[in-house]
């Protein structure tokens, strides 16, 4: 296992300015999206808070703070590569290029959504970008193996990226998937988003070792842990892992020490969280923006321009979703069988 802590001292990164700007743009789009969804989520839950009410009912797991993972990993992928995500999927969907309108319509439960409103925010399926997710802990890993298996069979160099949280890494599916992928040299990149928490349970109360990257050795595959939620560190680690997979050399594990900026789901008061005060100060977005501005990668007004573009895009998607038709209950039992 290698632990990398690329704190990106100003002016020392080897990354192209375009790449860096791209990472920042993706991160901003994600954050803008999550803030907007959060706003819409709470908009109509009152009086009080009724989880079943509003235009976006149900559980809502937002990814604010985890943008570096999605941006850094997906920068190496094309729409031909697969990504399987978890109950907290928006950042990965956006970074992987899932159509924002169709995704938003799905989150709003509309007929125009990715799943015609059937799936909602934990079940986003996009054949165009081979994106999927699942609300069952760690159980999104195994299907990624099959996508990789199919890709390899066809002699392509396509890869499958499988993502879970650090809490999920203690589920049996994690172990089985790593062993099988390693055994068959499948082109998979396993990503663990270590945001320190599995709902209210800290890593120290769920995981017997400090890093899941160390567990890669149990399968004979490379494992790397990126510290400090560093987007460029993720980018570099993913570059290696994706290249290895594309070259047919088998899977790797990339763990990122990231940050759950908000609650586990919306409505989570986080009374259990002693680190709550320091959380805002660890927000990766202002840090990265400052670094890019200091390096001159972002000009004086560029961040504002990026923010405005992101906001326009997101608001357009939300407006379109709100205007879209609701699914017809007469068709509630469609799609059970193919």
């Amino acid at each position: 296992m290698t632990t990398t802590t690329p704190t990106v001292p100003i002016g020392t990164t080897s990354l192209e300015p375009d790449v860096r700007r791209g990472l920042y743009r993706t991160m901003v789009l994600i954050r803008t999206y999550e803030e907007a969804i959060r706003r819409e989520y709470y908009a109509d839950k009152g009086p009080g808070f009724d989880i079943g009410k509003g235009l976006v009912p149900g559980e809502m797991h937002l990814s604010a703070g985890q943008e570096p993972v999605a941006a850094g990993i997906c920068a190496h992928l094309t729409a031909d590569d697969a990504v399987t995500a978890t109950h907290r999927p928006h950042h990965l969907a956006i970074a992987h290029g899932v159509d924002l309108d169709a995704m938003t319509a799905e989150i709003f439960g509309r007929e125009t959504g990715l799943g015609h409103g059937r799936g909602g925010h934990m079940h986003l399926f996009d054949p165009a970008t081979h994106f999927s997710c699942s609300g069952i802990i760690a159980e999104g890993y195994p299907p990624a193996l099959g996508q990789a298996f199919a890709f390899a069979r066809r002699g392509s160099d396509r890869v499958a990226v499988a993502v879970t949280g650090e809490g999920a890494a203690n589920q049996g599916a994690f172990h089985e998937s790593l062993n099988l992928a390693a055994l068959w040299h499948l082109p998979v990149v396993f990503v663990v988003e270590d945001n320190d928490w599995g709902i209210s349970v800290p890593r120290s109360a769920s995981t017997s070792v400090p890093s899941n990257a160390a567990r890669a050795a149990a399968y004979g595959i490379p494992g790397v842990r990126v510290e400090d939620n560093a987007v460029e560190g993720v980018w570099a680690a993913a570059q290696t892992a994706v290249a290895r997979a594309r070259a047919g050399e088998g899977p790797s594990l990339v763990e990122v020490h990231t940050l759950r900026l908000w609650g586990h789901f919306e409505g989570d008061a986080q009374g259990y969280r002693p680190d709550l005060e320091g959380v805002a100060g660890r927000d990766p977005l202002p840090t990265y923006r400052a670094a890019l501005e200091a390096d001159g990668v972002l000009g004086p007004t560029e961040a504002e321009t990026i923010a405005r573009a992101a906001s326009d895009r997101v608001e357009a998607a939300i407006a379109a979703a709100k205007a879209a038709p609701l699914p017809d209950p007469a068709h509630a039992t469609d799609y059970v069988f193919a």
């Binding site: 079940h123 203690n170 049996g172 509630a332």
Partner: protein, 348 residues
């Protein structure tokens, strides 16, 4: 709500009003005070108090050595419960949603439920597995299932499903004291959670003291003579709503809350259908190969002629529970569908 349940009170005291969630926690606390071998294990059951409030306040009273947060390793910690039970403890283990049972069902049905039989009665597994069930708040396909039919099909474990605070506390105490495994399923919609749609039937008077509700005895929550509505958990509330509404039209609906699927109170079903001659089964689980068929077969096992009309089933139509509310409400057995079934069965 009129219930025929007879509390087996250990001591008569007063009562207090509380939600079902608090009644569950009180049942657990009552037994934990009495029996040091009771521990509660699961995800987010400690500081969080359980995602659906089943363990609210327990960490404060009993501390982290008895109210124990686990890793997300259901197979390991249910198995741990089994081993601890085999050695004489009385663990309660929480699977956060019934939906998740697929990751750990082997421990539940091939181990917990079978060890007593395989050992010819020499080894007992006195444990409780709790699970939250049900939909109605747009939590979609993987977080809205009931699956109590799945559990009830597998032999060797009792399956209890309370619908109100009184039963919740009494059945929890019975479950903990049972010398065999009990799966205790609570529908999220009966818990009286502040963050869900208000439900007045989720609040009720609960005796202060310890009492048991016998496992395997249904409750006739409303007496009637025209049609029997057999149901469980959240659907009991809908059934009572429908019964009240139809009473204005002089339709007399008997509502039976099964309270447990295993054992199934077949005499209660038969007695009611013998009286009314008409049966509607309401079940938020998938319709086919589940509770609704079993309740009907309970009658035809003995005498199909007790039924003067088709036995109608109002259940989830063998379809995953969709996210969008328009779809979800069409899939769940909501009061309008129940009412329509009652009218139809009366018209036959």
């Amino acid at each position: 709500m009129t219930t025929t349940q007879e509390p087996v009170a250990e001591q008569a005291h007063g009562t207090h009003r509380m939600t079902t969630a608090k009644a569950v926690a009180e049942g657990i606390a009552t037994e934990m005070r009495r029996d040091p071998s009771v521990v509660y294990l699961g995800e987010d059951v400690g500081a969080y108090g359980g995602i659906f409030g089943a363990t609210g306040g327990l960490l404060d009273e009993f501390g982290p050595s008895r109210i124990i947060d686990t890793p997300i390793s259901e197979t390991a910690f249910i198995g741990l419960g089994i081993g601890a039970a085999v050695e004489g403890m009385r663990p309660i283990v929480e699977v956060m949603f019934t939906d998740f049972m697929g990751v750990c069902l082997d421990q539940i049905y091939n181990h917990m439920a079978k060890i007593h039989y395989e050992s010819g009665g020499n080894v007992s597994v006195p444990m409780v597995v709790t699970m939250a069930a049900g939909g109605g708040y747009s939590d979609a396909e993987q977080h809205s299932q009931c699956l109590w039919g799945t559990l009830a099909h597998l032999p060797g474990m009792k399956v209890v499903v309370p619908s109100n605070p009184y039963d919740a506390k009494g059945l929890m105490i019975s479950a903990i004291r049972d010398d065999g495994p009990v799966v205790y399923v609570f529908h999220k919609g009966v818990m009286g959670l502040a963050w869900m749609a208000r439900n007045d039937r989720a609040v009720g008077d609960v005796p202060d003291e310890a009492y048991t509700v016998p496992i395997g005895k249904a409750a006739v929550c409303r007496e009637g003579k025209d049609v029997t509505l057999v149901t469980i958990s959240r659907s009991v509330h809908h059934a009572l709503d429908v019964a009240e509404r139809l009473a204005d039209e002089d339709v007399s609906v008997e509502v039976i809350d099964l309270r447990s699927l295993v054992p199934l109170d077949r005499p209660a079903i038969l007695a009611s259908v013998a009286k009314t001659g008409r049966l509607v089964v309401v079940d938020e689980d998938y319709q086919s190969f589940g509770m609704s068929g079993e309740v009907v077969a309970t009658v035809t096992d003995v005498d199909p002629h007790l039924l003067h009309a088709p036995a109608l089933r109002v259940a989830n139509p063998d379809t995953p529970v969709a996210y969008a509310r328009t779809l979800e409400q069409a899939i769940l057995p909501m009061p309008d569908r129940i009412e329509a079934a009652v009218r139809r069965v009366l018209a036959t």
